[in-house]
């Protein structure tokens, strides 16, 4: 179909568009009309009823694309599916005005044309929303793999606009949506549009509909019956395609008497005996020993996937001193024991020099799982984030409750964060510290820090670390006294 009329004269310009939402045809028509500067009042819009024109456009043009503000193009796309035959004329008037001195017309929502188009766009949005909400799939009995079909009757020409939502939601399923204007089918890979369907083309029932109706009935509170509110949001026209709405008349009829019964019936004495022992037992849920706590930690998954196992604390309950490190490293993760890698060995050496017997102390980490980045064969340690430290801090708290040390030594910044609940710079706070708990605290560096220092600085730093540990030993002795 070609456009008629005299292009440069003053007679009417006829435009023929395809049925439904012919966005492509409309865009082509607008370009052609705008290029020829045809004012809106000279255009006669008609929509073809010819079958087989679905999605096809009768309009073509060589005219260049128009530079329209994004909001205008967007509004056009949103209004085109409207069933109002006047929509194209209204939209072209909008485009015309925007191109003729009212570039920011859309900001004037009080303008009658803008107001009307916005209301039309809203009607489309509502129609789409209701289709996304109220469409019900039925499973095709016996189909393998399982296949679902729905019958729906939208108010406007929205099938194409509605389809992407269902793809994004039911990507892994095979489904078909039938409407009086067309159909759409998804086979887990591609979307294809087809001819209109009939209600009878969808399965007559579904095995879960009775259960869904049960749910609908049970979730209704008869004491709050408000039919107007229900109808405002779920107008009656949708009901015939929604299986649960069959329950409405019965629910409404019984609502008043159900409520009265509830109010009038005096509370009955409980039939069941008061479960005193069960209630008492309930408060004993917390792990009652370090072993019980460790069993929970061992069962848990790492927050960051990858670790081989949880690395638990080591040492005896009642140890005078507890050392808290950062998180297990590569060696610890493989062996399932804390402080067995290079940093652990350095710690052992320093403890021995400071006169602390490792076997008498309790050693653990703030975070219980190794976090790393795989580089070739190597697993490179990664610092835990504040969130990870928080995630694990509950276990550390309980663990220290069970061990009940007199003194807790935070090795490095992560341990400080876990124990104090906030970041404190280690170099400044080095020495005795207060963690606000039932034990004394002490802050020093993590032994892995010593390993990373350049050769020249190592000896001095190591000596300072040993000196710290000596103070720790003395501090613990003082506390015992």
């Amino acid at each position: 179909m070609e456009s008629g009329g005299d292009l440069f004269g003053t007679g009417p310009q006829a435009v023929f568009l395809g049925p439904g939402a012919d966005g492509t045809g409309f865009r082509a028509a607008v370009r052609r009309l705008a290029a020829a500067a045809v004012p809106p009042e000279r255009v006669a819009w008609s929509v073809g009823e010819a079958p087989g024109l679905f999605g096809a456009s009768a309009e073509t043009t060589d005219a260049p694309p128009l530079a329209l503000p994004r909001g205008v193009a967007d509004l056009v796309a949103r209004v085109v599916p409207h069933r109002d035959p006047e929509r194209y004329a209204l939209l072209y008037t909008l485009v015309w005005r925007v191109l003729h001195g009212e570039r920011r017309l859309l900001e004037v929502s009080s303008d009658p044309l803008v107001h009307r188009l916005e209301r039309m766009a809203k009607a489309i949005a509502r129609d789409l929303h209701k289709m996304h909400a109220f469409l019900r799939f039925r499973r095709v009995e016996g189909a393998e793999p399982e296949r679902f079909v729905a019958w729906f009757e939208p108010d406007h020409h929205i099938l194409e606009a509605a389809a992407p939502f269902f793809v994004g939601r039911f990507r892994g399923l095979h489904w078909t949506i039938l409407t009086p204007e067309g159909s759409v089918r998804w086979d887990t890979e591609t979307l294809s549009f087809g001819p209109s369907g009939r209600r009878e083309d969808a399965p007559p029932s579904d095995g879960f509909e009775a259960g869904w109706r049960d749910y609908y009935e049970s979730t209704f509170n008869p004491a709050r019956t408000n039919l107007a509110a229900m109808r405002a949001e779920m107008p009656k026209k949708y009901w015939r395609n929604m299986p649960e709405t069959a329950a409405i008349p019965g629910l409404v009829r019984a609502a008043a008497s159900r409520t009265e019964t509830m109010i009038e019936r005096a509370p009955r004495k409980a039939i069941k005996r008061d479960p005193v022992r069960a209630v008492a037992a309930m408060v004993d849920q917390a792990p009652d020993s370090l072993d019980a706590l460790n069993a929970i930690i061992r069962r848990s998954e790492p927050l960051v996937p990858g670790a081989t196992q949880a690395v638990l604390g080591e040492g005896r309950v009642g140890a005078a001193i507890a050392f808290v490190g950062e998180q297990p490293g590569d060696h610890e993760d493989r062996q399932g024991r804390p402080f067995v890698g290079p940093a652990g060995q350095l710690l052992s050496r320093a403890m021995a020099e400071a006169g602390i017997v490792r076997g008498d102390a309790y050693l653990t980490n703030a975070v219980k799982h190794f976090k790393f980045e795989q580089r070739g064969q190597r697993r490179i340690h990664q610092n835990p984030t504040a969130g990870e430290v928080s995630h694990y801090r509950w276990w550390l708290e309980r663990e220290l409750d069970f061990v009940a040390p007199r003194l807790v030594v935070a090795l490095g910044a992560t341990a400080v964060l876990a124990l104090a609940g906030r970041a404190i710079p280690v170099t400044r706070a080095r020495g005795p510290a207060e963690f606000g708990k039932g034990y004394a605290g002490f802050i020093t560096v993590h032994p892995s820090y010593l390993l990373r220092l350049p050769h020249g600085a190592k000896d001095e730093a190591y000596a300072a670390f040993v000196a710290d540990l000596r103070r720790v030993g003395e501090f613990a002795t003082t506390l015992a006294a």
């Binding site: 004037v108 996304h132 994004g168 479960p275 969130g387």
Partner: protein, 404 residues
């Protein structure tokens, strides 16, 4: 679906319906990848409405309504004689997936009575969410009602799978809690809310997944003597200190087998409605808790005028305001003008002078707004805001939303 499962569903949906929230909003937008099931839309979708006018968005059920607690306002308290049932984890997962495939729901809202121990119960709830995500590639919405008495590490785990966690404050004061919910403790509830709040903030900063749709709570209205003002202050505190997404107000409603220590009558639903309006003033209209308190009479919102109108009637000297000149924050105080209408006014007046008929196109609340506005062609003559009968002229007709 076999009858045994259907029967459980009836009992455990009925037992869950007194929780007001059914929202599926706030989750980051997601779509299903290859072979996956489910998406989230941001604003959420209501898939059906029941004759009480409330939306069904999620499959809202209890895992079990057996409960060791004895909260007077709750139909499932241990001393109530209601029918009891318990789902298995697999049953909840199946119902969720099958309902979801048929486009009945946006996802799952799972709560539970406390059985064995809070930890045991919380573990079961988390297992449902984990199985949906891991075994079924489920990308739809999951809201878990957390058990504040559960060990904190279990709440940490739940947040990894849920879109929203919530813990019900239930009663606004410690005293009411003690009287009506003897096993509950306000401090424990508050600590759990705080833990979740901190972890949500932290996870956002670290771009990690932890209850991405935030945290909400519910307060029961009318079961004790708490005033609307006290409720609003409580909410302001919850929004301010714990970054809550929503506070739900649930007018205590008669329940089968009610307890003797409850009041005889439920509060009018209109009170619940006014509380939600007050809540919106706090969150979207720049009202301080003191402003909202100022909209009450002796601590209670009037039932026949909305809180914003009540405030304006008390502060008539600030009005009328010129729609073509007044600041945005003042236009937000005009009764009948919603936040969206105000934004449209502010945008449109950059290009044109607004007359009254223009304003009429921007709001549906012009009747209430009119006495408080000046437009290009309109001034509320005769000092309309001074009229003594203004309140009566603007009040709702005396018909209340009642029970029937």
């Amino acid at each position: 679906m076999d009858e045994a499962l259907a029967k459980k569903l009836r009992i455990l949906a009925d037992a869950a319906k007194y929780d007001a929230s059914c929202s599926s909003s706030g989750a980051p937008k997601r779509v299903a990848g290859k072979g996956e099931l489910g998406s989230t839309t941001g604003a959420g979708i209501c898939h059906a409405y029941t004759p009480d006018g409330r939306c069904i968005s999620l499959l809202k059920i209890l895992l079990t309504n057996y409960c060791l607690f004895d909260c007077a306002y709750c139909v499932n308290r241990r001393s109530s004689n209601v029918a009891r049932a318990k789902f298995t984890v697999e049953e909840v997962v199946t119902l969720t997936v099958e309902f979801y495939k048929r486009n009945y729901i946006e996802g799952l809202f799972l709560s539970s009575g406390i059985i064995k121990s809070p930890d045991h119960t919380m573990e079961l709830l988390t297992r449902v969410a984990k199985s949906l995500r891991r075994d079924h590639g489920f990308r739809g919405y999951i809201h878990l009602k957390s058990i504040p008495e559960a060990s904190p590490w279990l709440i940490e785990e739940a947040g990894l799978y849920a879109d929203r966690l919530s813990i019900n404050v239930e009663l606004p004061t410690e005293m009411s809690l003690e009287r009506l919910a003897p096993e509950k403790n306000g401090t424990i509830i508050q600590n759990a809310i705080q833990q979740i709040g901190e972890r949500i903030t932290q996870a956002k900063a670290e771009k990690r997944r932890f209850s991405p749709a935030g945290q909400s709570t519910q307060v029961i209205v009318g079961a004790d003597a708490t005033t609307d003002e006290a409720l609003m202050r409580k909410s302001a505190h919850l929004y301010g200190s714990f970054n809550l997404k929503r506070v739900y107000y649930s007018a205590f409603s008669p329940i089968p087998d009610g307890s003797t220590i409850l009041p005889l009558k439920s509060p009018p639903l209109q009170r619940e409605h006014r509380l939600y309006q007050g809540d919106w003033l706090l969150r979207y209209y720049g009202f301080t808790p003191d402003d909202v308190a100022d909209a009450t009479e002796d601590g209670m919102f009037a039932l026949d005028v909305d809180p914003k109108l009540a405030w304006a009637l008390k502060h008539r000297s600030h009005f009328p305001l010129d729609v073509n000149r007044a600041d945005r924050e003042w236009l937000l105080r005009v009764p009948g003008l919603g936040a969206r209408a105000v934004d449209k006014i502010v945008r449109a007046r950059r290009h044109t002078r607004l007359r009254l008929e223009d304003v009429a196109r921007l709001t549906s609340g012009l009747k209430r707004a009119r006495p408080f506005l000046i437009a290009e062609d309109y001034h509320p003559s005769g000092g309309l805001t001074d009229r003594l009968d203004l309140r009566a002229r603007l009040a709702d007709p005396p018909k209340q939303l009642s029970l029937f």
